[in-house]
């Protein structure tokens, strides 16, 4: 019997494909934002709001990740330049999008006609934090009914986020959500994350979010 040194990251296969995805996107001057949250926090609503506000300024494509159904893709259809639905229920792993799924989704997209891809991850606060997809920015949404303790319970996803959104602000009078406590937890874990308070229902705060998105796309374009 002999011992061989290995020292190899087990998630390296995913990371290799993710960086290949990013190279392809960069080549075509496309930015990608990975949107993550628990189910029902408002990923699709945020995408719809973003499409409505920015459709005259950017060509936006959407990748929808769900365990099953094309419900979300249908909602977005007609508003986005291109929509790809990924059903992870047919794949070995259903809990998160992975780089290989994005690789096949962007393969047939008209990348030269696209400025931004919004990627809606599978509703889950655990698994998506382990898998990079090739995105340029990572965004996490928390909504008021979920409670203000999510950053404490699921720290990893907040630690790696570039932006954290507090959605459903219109429900503030009806739920016990301590905004200051939530912000304090996020700032402790990740002082660099931009925090947005908004409501996809009433559109309150959406403008500031859309300015941030535009800024990311522009900064990214300059870098390339």
């Amino acid at each position: 019997m002999k011992k061989i040194e290995v020292i190899q990251n087990i998630l390296e296969a995913n990371e290799t494909i993710a960086s290949r995805n990013q190279q392809l996107l960069d080549k075509h001057k496309v930015s990608a934002i990975n949107i993550m949250s628990a189910p029902g926090a408002g990923k699709t609503s945020l995408i719809l709001q973003t499409l409505t506000r920015l459709k005259d300024r950017l060509n936006i494509a959407v990748i929808e990740g769900d365990v099953a159904s094309t419900v979300d893709a249908e909602k977005v259809q007609g508003k986005a330049k291109a929509v790809v639905q990924i059903n992870t229920g047919n794949m070995p792993e259903s809990c998160s999008l992975m780089a290989v799924m994005i690789e096949s989704a962007i393969k047939d997209m008209p990348l030269d006609n696209i400025d931004l891809i919004l990627i809606e991850n599978v509703g889950n606060l655990i698994c998506p934090s382990e898998f990079t997809l090739g995105e340029h920015k990572r965004v996490v949404i928390s909504s008021l009914p979920e409670g203000d303790d999510k950053p404490i319970k699921y720290p990893l996803i907040f630690i790696d986020a570039d932006a954290v959104i507090i959605n459903k602000m219109d429900l503030l009078p009806y739920v016990d959500f301590d905004i200051a406590a939530f912000r304090h937890s996020v700032e402790g874990l990740n002082p660099k994350a931009e925090i947005f308070q908004l409501s996809c229902k009433t559109s309150e705060g959406i403008e500031r979010w859309c300015s941030w998105v535009l800024e990311q796309v522009e900064t990214n374009a300059v870098k390339r």
Partner: protein, 113 residues
């Protein structure tokens, strides 16, 4: 929840490395798994057993070295193990902390013949 994919990667890496070493059998795979990585060792072994069937890694034992979580306070640089879910520095009570150790997930070495 995503231990299947992780196990698949372990099998692939082990078979590739065993091939390079011209081994005929993989006896043990030594893994380093951080407490914060969110992976369940028993679950990985379960999938590994099924995925490695009929390969030279069939029957290999997965040995897990668990790395406890260590946090570092951004204010006073104290390194500590979080005693509960509230990540506060035991020295200055600051809650601005970063993960210092505990997100590891790699194959350290293998025993082959």
């Amino acid at each position: 929840m995503h231990e299947f994919g992780v196990s698949e990667n372990i099998v692939n890496i082990a078979l590739a490395k065993a091939g390079e070493a011209q081994a005929s059998k993989v006896i043990q795979i030594n893994l380093v798994v951080g407490e914060m990585s969110g992976f369940v060792p028993d679950c990985i072994q379960f999938y590994f057993d099924s995925l490695s069937k009929d390969t030279i890694a069939q029957g290999a034992v997965l040995h897990f070295e668990l790395v406890p979580a260590q946090l570092r306070c951004r204010s006073c640089s104290t390194i500590f193990h979080p005693p509960d879910t509230l990540w506060a520095c035991p020295k200055c009570r600051g809650q601005s902390v970063e993960i210092f150790k505990g997100r590891e997930l790699y194959i350290e070495s293998m025993e082959v013949e």
